[in-house]
């Protein structure tokens, strides 16, 4: 009964490949997010969707394309992977209203680029 689940947990791939990370939440929340955490543990927002609509796109390269088929799912597709994309990617969700409610996080997807 995991609240926010991401798959896969680990992703090891070569430069230039395309990969996807899936996220699902069963909390009934309206807002979902993708964050990137670097090797120094710095956590930065990438995208935010509210009810399937994009509301935040934080100057992320357009190789990253989020897709929200419904408000319970937010997937992240990455094209032409680069070494600098190595990081842990977290999906999160919150009730409607970005920032004024607690966010619930998945356990992350550790992406390693060879």
């Amino acid at each position: 009964d995991t609240a926010v689940s991401q798959t896969p947990k680990y992703l090891v791939t070569q430069m230039g490949n395309d990969k996807s990370i899936k996220c699902e939440q069963n909390l009934g929340h309206d807002t979902m997010y993708w964050y990137k955490q670097d090797s120094k543990k710095f956590l930065k927002i990438m995208f935010s969707y509210n009810n399937k609509e994009l509301i935040i796109n934080e100057t992320v390269p357009n190789r990253f394309s989020p897709k929200s088929p419904d408000k319970a799912h937010l997937n992240l597709h990455i094209n032409s992977l680069e070494l600098g994309d190595s990081a842990v990617y977290f999906c999160a969700s919150s009730p409607q209203g970005v920032g004024n409610q607690p966010q619930h996080f998945g356990d992350g997807t550790r992406l390693s680029i060879l």
């Binding site: 120094k40 543990k41 956590l43 935040i56 977290f90 004024n100 607690p102 619930h104 356990d107 992350g108």
Partner: protein, 111 residues
């Protein structure tokens, strides 16, 4: 840009001692939130304190907010080994529709 900076970066204490972590931020906020991250896991929300509040408690956690100094502190009393984790503050300004996370404090509680 980085809104919150936490101090200290790392803290090592013995079980039963209190742990205090500080967070400073730059711009006016609507609220400030504290999260815990255990190794290899996602962040877990601990406490949300609004800009018109000065102190909040939750179990062994006590959070203070001083908007005049643009700072907040998280106090964990009677720490346990299970409190070993990284702790992050996050600010919400109310204008930019996002939380901005601090740099985190790594807390190690030893037996």
């Amino acid at each position: 840009s980085q809104q919150g900076e936490e101090d200290p970066q790392a803290l090592s204490i013995q079980e039963g001692e209190n742990a205090t972590m500080n967070c400073s931020y730059r711009t006016s906020i609507n609220n400030l939130q504290w999260y815990r991250q255990n190794s290899g896991r996602g962040l877990v929300h601990l406490i949300l304190i609004r800009s018109n509040e000065r102190e909040k408690h939750s179990g062994r956690l006590r959070v203070t907010l001083d908007t005049s100094k643009k700072s907040s502190s998280l106090l964990i009393t009677a720490s346990r080994a299970a409190d070993t984790a990284s702790y992050f503050c996050a600010t919400y300004t109310g204008t930019a529709s996002k939380l901005t996370f601090g740099t985190g404090t790594r807390l190690q509680v030893t037996l």
